[in-house]
């Protein structure tokens, strides 16, 4: 599917969608959003790019195999779950929060790292599935 319109648009849309996915990830704690949906949006960005420019170019753009994101994300999520046990002697999955607000991002807590882990896992899984299917087809 080579279309000059799609190719041109996808180049603009890729950074926009990625930025939007980060926005959705960050607003997730109290508002609709979060790691899962943000991960899907981010993977849509790459899938659109691969439709427009071909799988090879997207793979080149990503540099790493998307499957590698799965263990990284899981490690991040597990790390954020056991952090309270290791550092504060609190039960696993207790929310740890940094007191001061950081501009743009807002309050930072262990929940954010958990969500980021989910974000990476979702990107990894959905891109691995889509890439494998479109390679075979």
């Amino acid at each position: 599917m080579k279309s000059i319109i799609l190719t041109t648009v996808s180049k603009t849309l890729l950074p926009l969608l990625l930025l939007f996915s980060v926005f959705v990830l960050l607003r997730g704690h109290y508002l609709p959003g979060g790691g899962f949906i943000a991960g899907l949006i981010a993977s849509i960005a790459f899938i659109l790019h691969s439709f427009a420019n071909g799988l090879k170019k997207t793979r080149h753009l990503l540099r790493i195999h998307p499957g590698f994101l799965i263990p990284v994300g899981l490690a991040l999520a597990i790390g954020s779950a056991i952090a309270p046990m290791i550092f504060q002697d609190l039960p696993v999955m207790t929310g740890l929060w940094y007191h001061n607000e950081i501009p743009v991002i807002g309050k930072i807590g262990s929940a954010l790292f958990f969500d980021s882990g989910v974000y990476l896992v979702v990107i990894g899984v959905s891109l691995t599935i889509i890439f494998t299917i479109s390679e075979k087809a």
């Binding site: 499957g67 263990p71 899981l74 490690a75 597990i78 779950a81 309270p84 039960p91 696993v92 207790t94």
Partner: protein, 507 residues
């Protein structure tokens, strides 16, 4: 520190699994890491069991949310003992997988999924929240589905479809039960549920919900009407996977039945009768099924069903001694069934298939191995002093005390038919003369293995046989553990107190 110990068996398996994912394309590293990780898990599980044994039921409130609102992890003696047994079986099977699991399958993530499955099992045993139990069941089903299909042979896919359909169905039934329970009581915490249920006036709906749970767990445990997924799927994957499934998967269903029908809906009246009859039918159909099968792995699969009847029968009698017998039988069954399936894997490497009529002459060719294999087989029959005998003492005694002739007949029938089946297996595999069969070219036979590969197959069996011998010779230790569990199950007050006391201390 001791309060965190209860979640460590779950966390450790998760960490091992994720670490293994990083070494996706290096099977050799994965094998070493898996064995090391499983050994650490055994140490942690024994520490947990030691703590529970010395200090009583351990409770952890996840996320520091107080008891009825958050998810509680509860480690009473039953849960801790089962986690310990799970980790032992996991260690043994991760050693056994060295030879049994070819590198091509390891590259599809066998070890990582294996540890996710063990994580799911440990979580299911430890959780004190009924919805969380459902989540762990899902973890177990999804990982076991992957393990069943890894390799992708046609027969595996066929088995996996049957397995998945019925298990998915039972999960939906279970989830429906949870929804109904939440609608009636407004709680999901098992300890709180056990206090709310007796106050509900509409006994009919409580009865209905309990039956829904019975169906949901019954499918997973392999109980009578819906056990067909088990023999249809367990002979399809490699022996390491079937050993894991045969040893542990159905026991989660039995554990859930024991937990729910002692804590939340204490057995009585109609439920008790239904469970008794189901146990009888399970024993009967499992036994008859095993008798007519011609494939040794399928014989073992049907024997699993037959012996689930012992545990459910013990539960349905619902006295302390019967529960002691049921729990002891479960401990014995986990180890023996895992050993049997691993032995089945060795048979496959010796004869090229597992059809009873194609095998033979094991006693002449491998006399020492035959002795080793004889121990779990005889333990299964329950020849004293081997481990199968001791729980039967309690079970027979309990049915005698309860004046339940029906259960007595069922137990005696199960023991007899097991004896006949094992005698048949012994005749065909060990005693009769070997039949000349054409050797398969692709398969590497047992006598072609080098010492490392041979020991990777035999040492795990030897380890579990040692556990069986420990059960047999030091039966009073296990009996002591089982008696304490029986006492805890019958007096669920202390479970409830343990869950809520912590809350009071925190204030």
């Amino acid at each position: 520190m001791s309060e965190h110990l209860i979640i460590l068996p779950i966390i450790v398996q998760a960490i091992i699994a994720v670490t293994l994912l990083f070494f996706w394309r290096k099977p050799k590293t994965q094998r070493v890491l898996s064995i090391v990780g499983s050994s650490i898990a055994v140490i942690i599980a024994s520490m947990l069991f030691g703590t529970v044994w010395n200090q009583g039921t351990q409770v952890l409130q996840l996320g520091n949310w107080e008891a009825p609102f958050g998810i509680s992890l509860v480690g009473d003696t039953l849960a801790a003992a089962l986690v310990l047994l799970t980790s032992i079986v996991a260690l043994v099977i991760s050693i056994y997988s060295n030879t049994n699991m070819v590198s091509a399958r390891v590259k599809f993530g066998y070890y990582a999924i294996f540890h996710f499955l063990i994580m799911g099992l440990s979580g299911a045993f430890l959780t004190g929240d009924i919805f969380n139990l459902y989540v762990w069941f899902e973890v177990i089903i999804i990982s076991s589905f992957v393990l069943l299909t890894i390799g992708g042979r046609k027969i595996q896919i066929e088995g996996a479809v049957k397995y998945f359909t019925l298990n998915m169905l039972s999960s939906i039934v279970f989830l429906t039960g949870i929804a109904m329970l939440y609608g009636v009581t407004g709680s999901l915490n098992m300890a709180e549920l056990s206090q709310i249920i007796p106050t509900i006036e509409n006994k009919g709906i409580v009865q209905t919900i309990s039956l829904v749970f019975m169906i949901g767990f019954g499918v997973k445990a392999g109980l009578f009407p819906l056990y067909l997924w088990l023999p249809a799927s367990y002979h399809t994957p490699p022996a390491a996977v079937s050993a894991l499934f045969g040893g542990l998967l159905t026991k989660v269903g039995v554990y859930a039945l024991i937990r729910v029908f002692t804590l939340i809906f204490p057995l009585q009246g109609l439920n008790q009768d239904i469970l008794m009859i189901i146990a009888g039918f399970t024993v009967f159909f499992g036994g008859i099924g095993a008798l007519v099968q011609k494939d040794v792995i399928r014989v073992f699969s049907y024997l699993i069903i037959c012996h689930i009847g012992f545990m459910i029968g013990g539960l349905s009698l619902f006295t302390e001694i019967a529960l002691v017998g049921a729990v002891f039988y479960m401990f014995h069954d986990i180890i023996v069934k895992a050993t049997l399936f691993m032995i089945g894997g060795v048979f496959f490497r010796m004869f090229g298939n597992t059809k009873l009529y194609n095998m033979g002459g094991l006693m002449n060719d491998y006399p020492r191995l035959s002795l080793l294999f004889a121990i779990p087989l005889f333990a299964l029959v329950g020849i004293p002093p081997l481990s199968g005998f001791w729980p039967k003492l309690s079970l027979f005694g309990a049915s005698y005390q309860m004046n339940s002739i029906f259960m007595l007949v069922v137990f005696i029938f199960a023991s007899l038919i097991t004896l006949i089946i094992i005698a048949k297996v012994w005749n065909n595999v060990f005693a009769k003369n070997a039949r000349k069969t054409e050797k398969l070219e692709k398969l590497k036979y047992y006598d072609q293995f080098d010492l490392r590969e041979k020991s990777a197959m035999i040492i795990p069996i030897l380890m579990l046989v040692c556990v069986i011998l420990y059960y047999s010779i030091f039966a009073e230790h296990i009996q002591l553990v089982a008696e304490r569990i029986g006492n805890e199950l019958m007096n669920s007050d202390q479970y409830v107190e343990a869950v809520f006391n912590l809350k009071d201390e925190a204030k």
